[in-house]
């Protein structure tokens, strides 16, 4: 294992200490239990937006704390969901009297821990609504299984919900909007290389020079299928087609196209994927009206990319364009 770390046991703490120091004008970090909150929380009268999940996906989630996005985030251990002890103080701290929305990625651990935290917060008098994001088309959906994973769509959901809360949406309106976003966003990812969880010390899987994994999530896990490596255009076609066919996105639709890097793929390559994706969508008669390209929801040092499409309308476009000021995403202010 070759990593820029001091101690595998301390990666999350030391990274958050550094993050909080770098952005001390905007956020404050609490430790043991660990949670990060914007300095001006709670914002009176505004719905508080809290998210959280395992670490190793930076800038998600703590990097999205700030005006126009999240109020607090709870980082778990690497790839491990946080615990109720973290979510409870975070939830309480951002309740400005309008209740708190939990944005939860669909993993058994995240759902169960957020569920317990919501029960505890409600018992203490904070209204909580939770919505689970499950946008990964690589996983077959079924009521008999754990269902689909929450991946790239989470970033878009956090931005849009942050804007909605700023605009004065109440808690139920926020929850309804989040459900609507989740219903019209889909993602698919692929890996060129595995990644190594610091405490595990070894890559989570082996991949030969000429191989790739299709249908990966964001936890270094192998994907649905291993296959021979292809060109960027061919890989993009696989990802885009799977996403388009799933919703399905139709001729005439307007979308936000999000090309996300898994951590070790250069922006240069992500733009090659973006180029191919936009052209493919044009062939499908789908117009890209907004986009996002870069590393926003990563899987440590995994190389690879994911493609996310969100079907847009006037409301979503306005919320997307609204000002946002976070360490990881910033425009308009």
């Amino acid at each position: 294992m070759k990593k820029l770390i001091n101690d595998p046991e301390q990666v999350v703490n030391e990274s958050i200490e550094g993050f909080a120091a770098a952005h001390r004008d905007q956020v404050t970090a609490h430790f043991d239990p660990t949670w990060v909150v914007r300095n001006d929380a709670p914002v009176p009268g505004k719905v508080g937006i809290v998210s959280g999940g395992g670490s190793g996906h930076e800038p998600l989630h703590a990097g999205f704390i700030g005006p126009g996005m999240l109020d607090a985030a709870c980082p778990g251990e690497v790839f491990t969901s946080p615990v109720p002890d973290q979510m409870q103080p975070a939830t309480k701290a951002v309740d400005g009297g309008a209740g708190v929305l939990h944005i939860v990625k669909n993993y058994t651990g995240d759902v169960a821990n957020f569920e317990m935290a919501a029960e505890l917060a409600e018992a203490e008098g904070t209204r909580v609504r939770s919505v689970v994001i499950d946008d990964d088309v690589a996983v077959q959906d079924s009521s008999f299984t754990a269902g689909r994973r929450g991946v790239g769509g989470t970033v878009l959901a956090e931005k849009i919900l942050g804007a909605a809360a700023d605009k004065g949406y109440d808690l139920d309106q926020c929850a309804d909007l989040l459900e609507r976003v989740n219903n019209q966003v889909r993602s698919m990812g692929m890996a060129l290389t595995p990644c190594t969880v610091p405490q595990a010390g070894e890559p989570t899987f082996e991949l030969e020079e000429h191989e790739m994994e299709i249908g990966i999530g964001i936890h270094g896990e192998p994907g649905r299928e291993r296959m021979p490596l292809e060109s960027a255009d061919a890989i993009t076609q696989r990802l885009v087609n799977a996403v388009v066919e799933d919703l399905p996105f139709r001729r005439g639709d307007e979308v936000l196209l999000f090309v996300n890097g898994m951590g070790a793929t250069p922006l240069m390559e992500l733009y090659i994927v973006y180029r191919a994706a936009e052209r493919l969508l044009a062939d499908h008669g789908i117009t890209v009206v907004r986009n996002l390209v870069g590393d926003y929801i990563t899987s440590l040092e995994m190389a690879g990319a994911s493609v996310t499409l969100l079907k847009m309308d006037d409301e979503l476009t306005q919320l997307w364009d609204a000002p946002v000021k976070t360490p990881g995403l910033r425009w308009g202010m």
């Binding site: 778990g76 651990g109 569920e115 996983v139 077959q140 754990a146 994973r149 999530g217 270094g220 649905r224």
Partner: protein, 212 residues
């Protein structure tokens, strides 16, 4: 020796040792079909439990189990944190008020733990989870007690059944937890949670003092 708070406390310490010893193996199983953290997660939880154990002098077995539950819920995270945390909490509930546990109460505690895991996780037998080890263990313990066996025999029967159940997860396609994301590719690997459940029950079965 009756199974009192001191014996339960000693059992928790043994469990922490066993998890520490097997954590890399559990994490390795989890890298094949999960995200390479199961051993690390449980180890963190049991180490936290050691710190929170009440003084067995003025505690009941249920207090010890409750302390373990709280430590697991607040330190483990992931799927296994709330699941094992709920298991220990329900086991505590099943033996609430008892100063020492007889064989039947040991079987009850295991059954309550299973009910808790299933309520939180909604997994059925054959989904390739903790349930695949715990459920046969509960049945075996109950059968052993019904046949007049003591706690040691019940726990040994439970441990054997759990081991068999965990082994039987190998060919299964996972329907719950992270392994389900792999679909067919999850077959051919032993489930990490079923394996850790087996380790824990085997440890109880070998625990000094579990004779009642």
């Amino acid at each position: 020796m009756p199974i009192d708070a001191a014996v339960v406390t000693a059992a928790v310490r043994s469990c922490a040792d066993v998890i520490a010893e097997h954590r890399h193996e559990l994490t390795k199983l989890d890298s094949a079909i999960g995200d390479a953290d199961h051993g690390t997660n449980l180890h963190r939880g049991f180490q936290a439990a050691l710190v929170r154990l009440p003084d067995p002098g003025d505690a009941l077995p249920a207090d010890v189990l409750k302390a373990v539950s709280m430590a697991l819920v607040s330190k483990v995270g992931g799927a296994s944190g709330p699941l094992y945390g709920t298991a220990f909490l329900r086991a505590a509930g099943a033996v609430d008020g008892a100063e020492h546990l007889d064989a039947s109460q040991v079987a009850d505690a295991l059954a309550a733990a299973l009910a808790g895991v299933q309520q939180r996780g909604k997994a059925e037998l054959g989904d390739k989870t903790i349930v695949d080890a715990l459920s046969p263990a509960v049945d075996a313990a109950r059968a052993s007690v019904d046949a007049g066996g003591g706690a040691r025999e019940a726990l040994r029967a439970a441990a054997d059944a759990a081991a068999e159940g965990a082994e039987a997860t190998i060919p299964l396609v996972a329907r719950k937890g992270r392994a389900s994301y792999l679909g067919e590719r999850s077959a051919g690997h032993k489930d990490p949670g079923a394996t850790s459940t087996t380790l824990l029950i085997q440890t109880l079965a070998e625990q000094e003092g579990c004779e009642a």
